[in-house]
Subunit: 244 residues, 2 copies
DNA sequence: ATGCAGAAATTGGTTGGACCATTGAGCCAT
DNA sequence: ATGGCTCAATGGTCCAACCAATTTCTGCAT
């Protein structure tokens, strides 16, 4: 194990100090997403605080999505960490009913369209190629597995958000995506979900590749519209079958 | 101390289970902001988990701004808690620079335009009247106080979000607004900030009152564009004066 | 009785040490 | 090579204290 450039902490407000020290360490070592950071035991020893304090600090970062813990393996960076970060935790009440889903879709419509337009403006050749790659993977999965391509679908969209030049798009939409997953994992019997949206993935890509922001925005809006339709169909079915 | 309706927890993923149980407890007891919740020691005893686990769970909620801890006093609710909450922690890397501000503005542009459009579709007469009232107040404040109408300006926008039929708009934009305030409270020497955007408030209102969603969207976009220009001017000034 | 200072109880914050559960790497027999 | 096994490393949980800030109670002086 190498020598970590970490020095002890002093007064109260330990866990904040721990996070500050850790952020500094991450910056000095130029650690990025995916990389492992020191074990809790080592951090506790180097910073001269108890392991519990280190754990509370890391729990904070985990809650902010900055870090991921894997038991038996280690703690890994999930995002970019810097000393001067601003946190904006949003908690939205409501969640699992049809209305809430439609409301999040309205937000997503706004963001998805804007992200696609920005991407069409800003994406360079490498980024466009990456999007094309994700699109190919998705289309291939769609055909071989008869429409079960949710994971690949999501990765395609993510590649667009990443190329929008604004990381907030991915952060916000990712949170909503999680909500959607939780919702139609087991309930809601719309099997062909997403089929209708399939063709628009390619049209979005084409508008982005052509650096046509308004075209990309329009295609993104069409895609979301099909999802909304699917959702309404699913809700209607639930209504009929008498469920709540 | 009353009898808490809390039952033991079972398997792994303790802290999540703790939060679920706590959320259920808060709902059953109909606890609201400002009220104190049970001691960590009591929670640990009732839920049959260690106090450490309770603390990690509460640390999560504290990070989300749902709860506030006061040493020697207790843990108090800060927001509304329910079982089906969606958490959306956003992190702005390097929070106080020009880039971060522009990024939040891009998000706001997307949401503001969509909210204005939805409002034009859905707002009823009473809501339109309320928006008109806020607009009058704002314009009057603008003229009497020579442009210092930030508070009234914000209330005008809020009234639009509220009439969009989707509470998420207000929640998300409000979080960003708070962030903005913290930023240009003292730094950034653009005095005439917001002057350029003034006329568009009335045009937005007129398009909403006319139930013209695309018109409202277009005017909202113009307004945000003026804010972006102001921001760029401010950044250019900082650049000139040699600050970082 | 009243008011206030000091003691005591309450409560979140921290510590250190122990053990469990999962992971991953190295080893060994096949 | 391959498959299974062992074992060390690592995060997850627990316990039992003690510290620090706050609140509440107590009792004395007025």
């Amino acid at each position: 194990m190498t020598e970590f450039g970490l020095s002890p902490i002093q007064a109260t407000a330990r866990d904040d100090a721990v996070l500050k020290a850790l952020a500094g360490f991450v910056m000095r070592e130029a650690l990025g997403p995916g990389q492992r950071l020191p074990t809790e035991r080592i951090l506790a020893e180097r910073l001269k605080v108890s392991r519990n304090t280190v754990r509370e600090a890391l729990t904070r970062w985990e809650g902010l999505g900055l870090v991921e813990r894997r038991q038996g393996s280690g703690t890994y960076l999930k995002g970019v960490v810097s000393l001067d970060m601003l946190h904006m935790p949003l908690t939205l009440a409501g969640g699992n009913d049809f209305t809430s889903l439609m409301q999040t879709l309205e937000i997503r419509r706004a963001l998805e369209a804007e992200a696609a337009a920005l991407c069409a403006i800003r994406a360079d050749q490498a980024e466009i190629a990456e999007i094309a790659r994700k699109l190919d993977i998705m289309e291939q999965a769609f055909h071989t597995r008869a429409g079960m391509s949710a994971e690949e679908d999501w990765e395609f969209h993510q590649s667009i958000y990443r190329s929008s030049g604004n990381p907030l798009f991915e952060q916000i939409i990712a949170a909503m995506h999680e909500l959607f997953h939780r919702f139609w994992e087991h309930p809601l019997g719309v099997r062909d979900f997403g089929h209708a949206s399939f063709p628009y993935h390619r049209t979005i890509y084409e508008r982005i590749a052509a650096h046509d922001p308004e075209g990309a925005r329009a295609e993104a809006l069409k895609l979301i519209a099909t999802v909304e339709d699917d959702l309404k169909r699913g809700a209607a079915k639930l209504e009929l079958s008498g469920q709540k």
